[in-house]
Amino acid sequence: MVEVERHEYDVVVIGAGGAGLRAVIEARQRGLRVAVVTKSLFGKAHTVMAEGGCAAAMKNANAKDTWQIHFADTMRGGKFLNNWRMAELHAQEAPDRVWELETYGALFDRTKDGRISQRNFGGHTYPRLAHVGDRTGLEIIRTMQQKIVSLQQEDNAELGDYEARIKVFHECSITELVLDEGASGATGEGQRRIAGALGYFRETGKFILFEAPAVVLATGGIGKSFKVSSNSWEYTGDGHALALRAGASLINMEFIQFHPTGMVWPLSVKGILVTEGVRGDGGVLKNSEGKRFMFDYIPSVFKGQYAETEEEADQWLKDNDSARRTPDLLPRDEVARAINSEVKAGRGSPHGGVYLDIASRIPVEEIKRRLPSMYHQFMELAEVDITKDEMEVGPTCHYVMGGIEVDPDTGAATTPGLFAAGECSGGMHGSNRLGGNSLSDLLVFGRRAGMGASDYVVSLKERPKVLEHAVDAATTMALSPFDEHPEPENPYTLHAELQQSMNDLVGIIRKEDEIQAALDKLEELKVRVHNVTVEGGRFFNPGWHLAIDMRNMLLVSECVAKAALQRTESRGGHTRDDHPEMDAHWRNTLLVCRAGGGDPIVPDVTVTPESQTQMRPDLLGCFELSELEKYYTDAELTEHPERSS
């Protein structure tokens, strides 16, 4: 039998990005012992790549802002498919979460009167994004990392051990959640509960078992299944796949955000993010004819909300109370599709993107001050000086709106003891996320998942026991790439084929026959992954790590493709060339993915349509009836205040 190191904790948080760390802080402050497990080093999580800012209606830049307007913007951005309760909590609590970061030592950029400065961003009515230049994510991750160190210092002072209540297990990957036998009790007869999580240290390849009644998944996204992506190697859909295999459900997996502005040249940096802050601070998109084309792409649902001339757009930039906002700042799905159309129409840049111009818009020194890492990134990687020349940009796979189906208030997934927050959870952003709503999402729902997990643990009468044979099965499967296989497959080759297929066939614009072709390819890869074989030993072996991650990527990619095939409409981050219209009858339908049966390495995925609960009338009242009529069926609006009064 394989050796497995064992640890007991109250809560295990998987993922050390913003959501994970905020959950850790919350659970620790409620007196629980917490392990935080991360695939990378502490402080390197994907959150560092968030650039533009953190949305919160603090009213520092415009006193007219309210949580209701932030809520409404979020719902609009998501084309009203969002879980409205999550959007409500998010808009209400985001300001407190940002201010709280200041008590941890964060230093945001300031307004003239010394408050937190807020910038414009796509889809937000008012300047709303708290930021630090264009490195806001770094500030947030570092702040929470340092807060955790500070809590560890308190624990050391009290108990003589820095790790008495919080221990960081870095460079450690979880391969499977372990359930109990299905005890009777408060959670329902026979339903199996979370009992722990099994993983391995990347450095040594040795296995580690966490025995814990609650697991918070905060593993981020799935972008590494796509070739052109702004995501790092870590984004292999681990949390999504772990949850599925532990019996939980995913929703909204067909909705993938292609960020409109990724770098397109040189090829080796294709996909690297160019912050929306460039447009928030005045940058504009142009085609090869020098035309600001976004004015031609204001969709009918947003007609009347955006400026229709360049003069009006520029006036708005100076004073956003006296004009309508620029269509350069439409929600990301709209801008990405517009860029795609311009390129297809032959009006793209030499390397297949469009132009993003900040150089002619604001002074050189302002560009360097407000967008220092963009300046640096283009200078060093593309030899382009953005204070002099236009950038070439195009869509890049950036974010998955879909994720683990959770209870809005507690972050609880459908498997008892399992919680999720941040990008790996689903619902909050509907069919499309607004820029800036991710960092605030992490803070609001990271805290709530930490609370939910703590309350759950405290309420338990006895702790679930790990099923030992499940641990054995998981270690055996993890080690199988070291076995000899008849037709050995290289994990890097399989990965490249998956990325190419998802990119080409389930990308920004989709068609039935192409999605079907992607599903056929997935079937082929699911067979071949059995033969994946790696060289070398268990010590820090990236080939082996990738072989293990492939399992998760294949499972999650199948969810994306199957849900994309079923949804015969276009909405947010799901565009069907063969069903180009948005259909009100689809608005309330969630496609719920579950896994089970079939192959143990990559189980079968089923997709079931289910409907959401109706929005409360007071929240319906945040919108004018005439706007909702563009999205809702008539029957759904009977409780709108304009009708019911």
């Binding site: 990378s40 080093l41 502490f42 402080g43 390197k44 994907h46 560092v48 790549m49 300001p95 407190d96 201010w99 200041e102 008590t103 941890y104 030592g105 230093l107 300031r110 010394g114 408050r115 400065s117 630090v132 230049g133 490195r135 770094l138 500030e139 570092r142 340092q146 807060k147 160190v149 500070s150 210092q153 450095e203 790092s232 190697w233 040249w265 090829l267 080796s268 940096v269 690297i272 993010l273 220092p372 890492s373 640096h376 990134q377 060093e380 990687l381 593309a382 290289n490 994990p491 890097y492 490249a496 790696v534 060289e535 070398g536 030993g537 010590f539 820090f540 072996n541 990236p542 080939g543």
Partner: protein, 249 residues
């Protein structure tokens, strides 16, 4: 510029020993050293160990030494080398090797934990904070740090002097002390500890740390020298000295 075959020399091994291995690898226009390492992994050595995350110079994971110079693999373009030149990549020298290009950087996390954390005034409520941009900017510069540890690796105080690691926190954490000392809301005095516990006196301002910083933070000029001045004011200013003698309990 078209594709060409580059000669790469990569250190392979672990804590028991190892050596440089030669690889001939294709290089395309615009590629960075990390792309080439990935190509070696995908086509010639699937188990070649390297740390990386963002591949955009934002996370500070892929630190290594390229032709002996501490650099980020993702921000070093192959076009900075002659096509005929052999490019040698070795792990960070100041930290123990784990495997291939991956080193044990736990020294840094230990030091991070020793610096007393941000200490706000007790009575101030969240949301009440007012700070001027000019006042936050000094600390903000240091908070640009991506913790790549290149400065820690290059600093001669520890690079070839393992014995100094105990008493010296390194530029990254001395800068953290300075950052908190200059933080408009922090109330804790860290001047004495900068000198006594974190070894500020070991630094003789050769600016090697500033030179390797991929974020172009002026570590020496803006953090270490001002910190030294603050410490010197405290220790050697005769008025302060007298005041301390008279009023210290």
């Amino acid at each position: 510029m078209g594709a060409y075959q580059a000669s790469m020399r990569v250190w392979r091994g672990d804590d028991t020993g190892g050596g440089l291995q030669d690889y001939t690898v294709e290089v395309n226009e615009g590629e960075v050293v990390l792309d080439i390492i990935h190509r070696i992994q995908a086509t010639q050595a699937g188990d070649l160990a390297v740390r990386w995350n963002c591949k955009a110079g934002k996370c500070g994971s892929c630190s290594a030494e390229i032709n002996g110079r501490p650099r980020l693999l993702c921000m070093t373009r192959m076009s900075t080398f002659d096509e005929s030149e052999t490019v040698t990549i070795t792990p960070l020298r100041a930290f123990p090797v784990m495997r291939d290009l991956v080193t044990d950087v736990s020294f840094n996390y230990t030091k991070a934990r020793e610096v007393p954390s941000f200490t706000p005034p007790k009575d101030l409520q969240p949301g009440d904070y007012r700070m001027q941009q000019v006042d936050v900017e000094r600390s903000q510069e240091f908070r640009k740090c991506i913790e790549c540890f290149l400065c820690q690796n290059t600093c001669h105080v520890v690079r070839d002097h393992e014995e100094n690691k105990q008493a010296f926190a390194g530029p990254r954490y001395l800068m953290r002390v300075a950052e908190l000392d200059m933080h408009p809301l922090d109330v804790l005095d860290r001047k004495d500890m900068a000198q006594e516990e974190f070894g500020l006196g070991y630094c003789n301002i050769t600016k090697c740390c500033t030179e390797v910083c991929p974020e172009h933070i002026k570590i020496t000029d803006n953090a270490l020298i001002p910190m030294k001045e603050r410490v010197a004011d405290r220790k050697y200013d005769p008025v302060v000295w007298l005041g301390n003698k008279l009023f210290r309990r």
